[in-house]
């Protein structure tokens, strides 16, 4: 075994190739979160308040997403969405080149769809940690339900949601690597393509490994800081 076991030069070069996929991975993560956060929260409310129909729908949706591998969700949505949209567009005579849409859009939809379901459960458990008395107290001083949620319930709910939100975000970042299956120009795909040329797969995998690690550790750290800020009111020791 000589030093060519690992091609250091390729390892370093490909590291930067993998790194160039970070913006797309982060973009998909941020957009998916931006879409999934409000939807997940809203659906969690329908579960908590047992809103008829929506509650049942949410249950099925969450079970469906949790009970199937993301890679299959990606394949299914990626195949079905264009077909459905094409038939709708055809029916209403809309001239739209559905098969030329950037895969990025599919990634947004697929990962939002997946993450929203995860967040339903995150928010549902977090909302349950806020005592019902907090809402009653808000009502008693003349706040509306919306005001009570914005000023009292959500800030407290977020504190207990933070650890799970962090996990969900990190899982989402890692899941974007599956985007390579639909040719999303993210970290994994870029490194693998680079490796194809000279069969330097090991180096490419190590690079991918390191890039995700750095990314996830950074995100974890940011969440910790934010969580600390949010839980100021709890952190102080009892006098």
């Amino acid at each position: 075994m000589n030093s060519s076991f690992i091609n250091m030069e390729f390892l370093i070069d490909t590291f930067f190739v993998a790194l160039s996929g970070v913006p797309i991975a982060l973009l998909v993560t941020v957009v998916a979160l931006a879409i999934a956060l409000p939807i997940g929260f809203f659906l969690a409310l329908t579960r908590i308040n047992e809103i008829p129909i929506l509650n049942g729908f949410t249950k099925v949706y969450v079970s469906f997403v949790r009970g199937t591998p993301i890679i299959i969700q990606i394949f299914v949505l990626y195949s079905i969405l264009p077909l459905v949209l094409a038939s709708i567009f055809e029916r209403y005579n809309i001239d739209f080149p559905i098969y030329e849409v950037n895969t990025l859009w599919y990634a947004f939809i697929i990962f939002s769809f997946n993450t929203a379901a995860i967040l339903v459960e995150v928010f549902r458990s977090a909302l349950k940690t806020v005592n019902a008395g907090q809402l009653e107290a808000a009502y008693s001083v003349g706040l509306t339900t919306a005001q009570a949620y914005r000023r009292i319930i959500i800030p407290q709910m977020l504190v207990s949601a933070m650890p799970n939100l962090c996990t969900a975000t990190i899982n989402l970042i890692k899941a974007t690597s599956l985007g390579y299956a639909i040719s999303l120009q993210e970290i994994t795909l870029k490194a693998k393509v680079a490796a194809n040329v000279g069969y330097n797969y090991l180096e490419a995998y190590i690079d991918i490994f390191i890039v995700y690690l750095i990314l996830c550790i950074t995100v974890e750290y940011l969440f910790k800081v934010f969580e600390k800020r949010l839980s100021r009111y709890k952190a102080v020791a009892t006098a």
Binding site: Q134, Y139, S140, G142, L143
Partner: protein, 251 residues
């Protein structure tokens, strides 16, 4: 000033309130006594729409509402004119003492922030918490938390303050400070309805004492009438249980 009529409320098959009437004059302190499960707390919660009554009306000054079918606007109007002090304080955990008091003023009543904080400081001073403006509930003792709860209610300058067993969750040695504050605001002419098990407070402060049992008002009258010359056997039995010795002694 406050008239409650024919309040009915059931939880499932369990009828908690069986047609309760209650009237309170301005500046009066009305104390509601009764064994647990008699519907005292539920009555209070129905007045403030924390529970929806099955039937009943409330008249608060010139505002008349149906306790079962009041609109959102009417509910808000009633809450704007009343305040509630909870057994478990229910201070907003994510807000400091002064923010707790100011919240309803700024958001609920749309009072400018500066003025709201001035009112909040005065209210906290009144309950003896001048040192604790910026403390979070987690930094306060139970008695201090309940005093913030009372300040939060007083600051709203409501037509009536509803007290739901305000000292029941407190350690015995902290009960005194809360009762003292309640006596103080009663002296200032605040209209209060108080559900409590503190008999001495009822004797000292109440204008009218109401004894509830099984979802009905059994008897009502002055503290003297209820504690010294109760007419109903159920009242006598209850008092004998909660005031052993003392009751016989007072006759």
């Amino acid at each position: 000033m406050l008239e409650i009529q024919n309040v009915h409320k059931s939880f499932g098959k369990n009828e908690i309130l069986k047609g309760v009437d209650l009237s309170v004059d301005k500046g009066d302190v009305v104390v509601i006594l009764g064994p647990s499960g008699s519907g005292k707390t539920t009555l209070l919660r129905c007045i403030n729409f924390l529970e929806r009554a099955d039937q009943g009306t409330a008249t608060l000054g010139d505002l008349k509402v149906d306790l079962h079918s009041a609109s959102k606007k009417e509910v808000l109007a009633v809450r704007q004119r009343s305040a509630f002090v909870f057994q478990n304080y229910n201070l907003f955990n994510n807000k400091t003492a002064i923010e707790n008091v100011a919240e309803g003023l700024i958001i609920g009543r749309k009072i400018p922030k500066e003025e709201a904080y001035k009112i909040a400081r005065e209210a906290l001073d009144k309950v003896g918490l001048s040192e604790k403006y910026d403390s979070y509930p987690s930094q306060l003792s139970g008695g201090q938390q309940q005093r913030v709860g009372i300040a939060r209610a007083v600051a709203l300058n409501p037509d009536v303050i509803l007290f739901d067993e305000p000292t029941s969750a407190l350690d015995p040695e902290l009960v005194g400070e809360v009762l003292e504050v309640m006596k103080e605001i009663a002296r200032e002419g605040t209209t209060m309805i108080v559900v409590t098990h503190e008999m001495q407070f009822a004797k000292d402060v109440a204008k009218k004492v109401i004894f509830m049992d099984g979802g009905n008002i059994v008897e009502e009258g002055t503290p003297h009438e209820i504690f010294v010359t109760p007419k109903e056997e159920r009242t006598r039995r209850f008092l004998r249980r909660v005031l052993p010795g003392e009751y016989d002694f007072e006759i």
